[in-house]
Each structure stands twice: as C-alpha cells, then as structure tokens.
Symmetry: C2
Subunit: 348 residues, 2 copies
C-alpha cells in the first residue's frame, strides 16, 4: 500500500499539527503551514482520498480532519522519523539517575517521576519482579522461640523477607543445617521454577535423609516457607503525572477525566498492562489496546533488565494524539539507563 509522496506528506502534516493543537486540521492550514506549493483545493482532494482509505476522519461535516488510529499506526510505523534525543536531554536522564544511585525502590520511583516530567504525560512503572530472577541465597534467622525470619536474596540483588510464625522451638544448629540444606537445594532456581516444584521434589533423596530427624519441624516450616517464596512477590506500581492528562482538551470534560483517573486507580489493571510487554518498545494506539479501558489512549511501554534478564517494565500513557516520536525515544533512553544502572548497582 503505497500512498504517494504528497498523500504521505499531507497525512504527516495532519498528524503533527493535530498533536500540537488538538484541533481538526483543515486544508487551508496545511497549504499555508506545510505544503506551501499546493493549493487548498488540491489538498482537499487528497484528504478525501485519505479519508476513504481510513487514515483520517471528520468529526462533523464542516470541520477539518483528525487522524484515525490507523493513521497514527501508519505514522508510527512508516512516516515519523525517530527523534534523536538531544544530548542535553539524554544527559539529563543519565545524570538524574546517577544522583539517586542507592536503593532500588527509590531509583524506580525516581524513574517514574522523571518519565512523567520529561514526557508531560502520565507514567507508570513496575517494581522489579522477583519471579523473573533466581534465588541466590536464603537465610533463616530465629527471632524468638516461635518466630523465624526468612531472608531471600536473588541474583538480581533484590531482597525480600518474610516472617514465619507459630513455628515450634528450633535449636540454632538445626536452623543452620536447614538453611544450608535449603540453599544447596534451591539456590540457582528461578521463582518460576520453584512454582513448578512441589514439596515432594524437595523432600526426596539426600535432603530428606539428612533432615529426616527433624521431620516434624520441617513439615511445619517448609510449606509456609514455600508459600512465602511463591507469593511474596510484590506487585508495586508507581504512577506519576496523572494531573498531566487534565491539561489536554481530550479530558476537558470532567467526566472523561474522572473515568481516566478511575482507570489509574486500578493498580491490578496497570500491572497487567505492563506485564504484557515483551518487546523492547511497544506502542499500542487507541483501539489496538488489549484493555478496553485504554481504547482511547495510546500506551508506550518498554522493559528494563538486570544482567540482560527482563525484570520489569515502564509505560507512558497519553491521548492517541501523542508525541510518539519524542516519547518513544525518551522511554527507550530511560529503560536503557535504568537497566545499565541496576546492573551496575548489583554487580559489585
């Protein structure tokens, strides 16, 4: 499907003008601001064609044209030039990150804030997910006679802990033995692997034999520990710049705004949205979106990694009339920096 140069230029003009103004774009505007050598009449003819092909739409008879989802899609895939972030902006991202170097959580929060500030849209970010990583070390600590603290360190350096209560008295040396045994048995496994592993797998062979004297204790402790391992995965979502959306005339109607904010309140949904991202940078435009709640927004998502292993993702939400090229490059730069710094942070 080749449009021809002029049609392509006109479509580009319509989209970019609409992105800036949020107003339907008329033939005269295009002739004046973009294709100065072509008369409005000609442009009108081309626009009629573009409309027939489904790339643009008319809100009402005597209005200019507005890009359709299909139009944006073509624009993102074929027309727009990937905007190179100027050095100043790229530097900014890098610098801001280095300043926060410290706790992972703070870094992630900061990334979200930065993302919404730079794009001026709404940003969401998922905290690193345990599930995707491998267990590196597990340690049991007795807090008092009936309480044990389990500390889990993964290869991505993420640390979780959980308190196991109501355990019967365990002698320190048994606890140590158990810790060692668990380590030799579980370390290196990913959380997903463990999910597949049942208790029986853990109790077989050498392990069972070596621990067998403390059968009762283990029977009590292991299930709870497994429970913890499998379900302790936090699904935190940070969100920033919700207020940014209200700047756009798309949400000038307070009801539209409320609807949107209600969607943002459903953290579970946001999590699923982010979780479906596999590619490096993913663009969902309007009706393309898998979740109906976002059918009149666009969503740009990307993943970040530690040591090449995907452990989380970020996203930017905006009106379909979004500055795709700018946002894509920012998201791209952001995830790369995030990955790099996280990897570095945890490598030591």
């Amino acid at each position: 499907m080749n449009l021809g140069d002029r049609k392509r230029l006109i479509l580009q003009a319509i989209i970019e003008d609409y992105i800036n103004t949020a107003e339907p774009v008329g033939s005269r505007t295009i002739s004046k601001k973009y294709l100065t050598n072509t008369s409005p009449a000609t442009i009108r003819n081309e626009m009629a064609d573009l409309e027939e092909m489904g790339f643009i739409e008319q809100p009402h008879t005597s209005a200019g044209r507005v890009p359709s989802d299909k139009g944006y899609r073509l624009y993102v895939d074929k027309i727009m030039e990937q905007k190179k972030l100027d050095n100043i902006q790229a530097e900014l991202i890098k610098k801001e990150f280095i300043d926060t170097l410290g706790e992972i959580d703070r870094l992630v929060k900061h990334a979200s804030k930065l993302l919404s500030n730079m794009t001026q849209y709404t940003s969401i970010i998922m905290t690193p997910q345990l599930k995707k990583t491998c267990l590196k070390h597990i340690q049991l600590i007795a807090i008092n006679s009936s309480t044990i603290l389990a500390v889990i360190v993964t290869d991505a350096g993420i640390v979780k802990n959980s308190v196991l209560k109501g355990i019967r008295d365990i002698a320190p040396d048994v606890l140590e033995k158990l810790t060692n045994a668990l380590n030799s048995k579980l370390s290196g496994l990913s959380m997903e692997d463990m999910n597949r592993l049942s208790l029986e797998d853990i109790f077989t062979g050498e392990f069972a034999r070596s621990m067998h004297v403390h059968g009762e204790i283990i029977e009590q402790l292991i299930p709870e520990l497994m429970q913890t391992l499998l379900y302790s995965d936090t699904k935190d979502i940070y969100l920033d710049g919700a207020a940014n959306m209200l700047k756009f005339p798309e949400y000038g109607d307070i009801n539209k705004a409320r609807e949107f904010l209600n969607v943002l309140d459903e953290k579970e949904l946001l999590f699923n949205v982010l979780n479906q991202t596999n590619n490096d940078v993913n663009v969902s435009i309007g009706a393309e979106n898998q979740f109906e709640q976002f059918r009149n927004c666009s969503l740009i998502t990307a993943t970040y990694k530690i040591n090449g292993k995907t452990i989380g993702s970020v996203g930017v939400i905006g009106p379909t009339r979004m500055e795709y090229s700018k946002v894509i490059s920012i998201v791209d730069c952001m995830t790369h920096n995030l990955s790099e710094i996280l990897t570095k942070m945890l490598k030591v």
Copy 2:
C-alpha cells in the same frame, strides 16, 4: 459564645444542606425543609446575625448562604452529633481487614482503598514507620566476599534490609561476633535514639575493646550500617480515590481539578501532612490547614498504633463541605481496627 437554640439549628441546617447540595442555602429552603415553624423572614434575620458573626457567607448579593470555615469548625466541635457507624458498616471494616490478614504492606494498601471507598473522598495512608519503633534484632549475613546483608527487625515486627557493598573480606566468625556485639549495643534503642547517638558512643568502652582487633573492618562497616539504619526508613504513601474528588462541583473546573491532583502528586507533602498528626482524630478545616495547598479542602487524619505505640497515620481529604460526622466515625473505626489487627499480627 452561646448562639441560642434557633441560630444553632439554622447553622446546622445550612451546613448539612450545603454538604448535600453544594448550593448556597436560602431562607426559604430552611423554612421549608428544616424549621417548618419559622418563616423565611425570621430566618433571614437570624442569618444576617450569623453572617455578622462570621459563621456563614454570601457568595454574592442575591445568593443564599454558605458556611465559612469558622462555621464548619463550630459545627464539628459543638453541633454535629457524632454519627455512630451502623453495625453493618463497622462489621464491613472488620471483616475486610481480617480477609487481608497477611503482609503488613498489603494490609495498609487495603486500608487505604477501603477508606476511600467508604467515605467516597480521597484517602491517604502512611506505611508504618521504622523511626518510631525500637530495634529488636539485627543480623549481618555475608552474601559474598564483599557484600553483606543487614537485616533489621523492630519491636513492631517491621523488617527492613539493606545491602552493604564494597566491604573487605570478613571471616564468618568475625561477622557473628559483630552481629552479637551490635545486638547487645543497639537492641532496645529506638531509631530516634540512634539518631542522637554518634559513632563515638558506639565505639566506646567494652565494645571498642572487644572488637578492637578488627578495627579496620569496623571502621568501614559501621558508618555504612548507621547510614542505613538512619535513612532506610521508607516513607511510602498510598493514595486512593483521587477520582472521587472530581465528582464534586468544587472541582468542576478542570483547572481546579488539576491543581488538586498536582498536590496529590507531591508525596513528600502528603507525608508531612500525615506526620503532623498527633491526636487520635484530627480535623483541619479549610484555611486552618497548615499547608497552604490544602487551604480549600478539609482534612481528617488519625494515627494507628502497634502495641499502643503510634507508627503511622491515615487521612481523608475532601472539600470543606465534607460529611464530617460520617468521615470522622469511619476514620476512627478504621484506625482502631488497623491498630488492633497489626498488634495481633505481630504479637505471636
């Protein structure tokens, strides 16, 4: 300052009607709906008095009256009857909590959601604060030759951990010795106490002598550990029901709405707002508010405790025209249940 029965009834009528309708209340309305035995003219006279006293205001000449902050204050302090939650609602709070019994964080998040759902305003909640609690146990774990994991358990049962990196090789037995020493030295101290303690205090006396052979290691490790102890306090704020505010005509203007949402984006501010709460239930009305950003809202805050020790607080934000009596009782019930359950959870 005694108003007299009729004036008080009229003020109450104005406030409660305005809470429901968000429209200025006129004399005729009051005569019809509230004081059916008094004529509008009489009520007008009383209203003129009330206005002179500063309890109500007139948006413009030919409009009804609207309560002032001072009016709301009188209402909250003297007039309104503390609404008793019906059993169904109180049960709901209790039940919802018991269902979530599990991780603290999830419980807190849930509380926030519940609060905004029940009140239909915006809720904020602070995660339990380490600072307020005492250190119960600290454990150092070697992850690898240059990385140590410090795990902190407080008397409120909150567990934090932090990774100390770039530490020189430490033998396991030294680490154990150090752990023991730290415990005997620090356990029982509140985080605030520790803040007052300088490194010298820690290094004096018996401790310094006993550890003295490992001077270098300690010099390297202790500062970093202290840093961690003092700054690891997370300041997480959960927020729910932001969209609720857009229901109110007060935020019918999209700019007002945006302004409000921008305030909600400043987590730091919200934290400070919550942190100033000392009383059990605190009500700040409009201009009374310490933070100018909230000068046209009202804020109801309360604290929750573990074992009688205050460790966090929750708040509800709404327009000054807020259903004070309802919200106060819900917040009250909520914090009590939260305290009870948290205490129970960690007692075992």
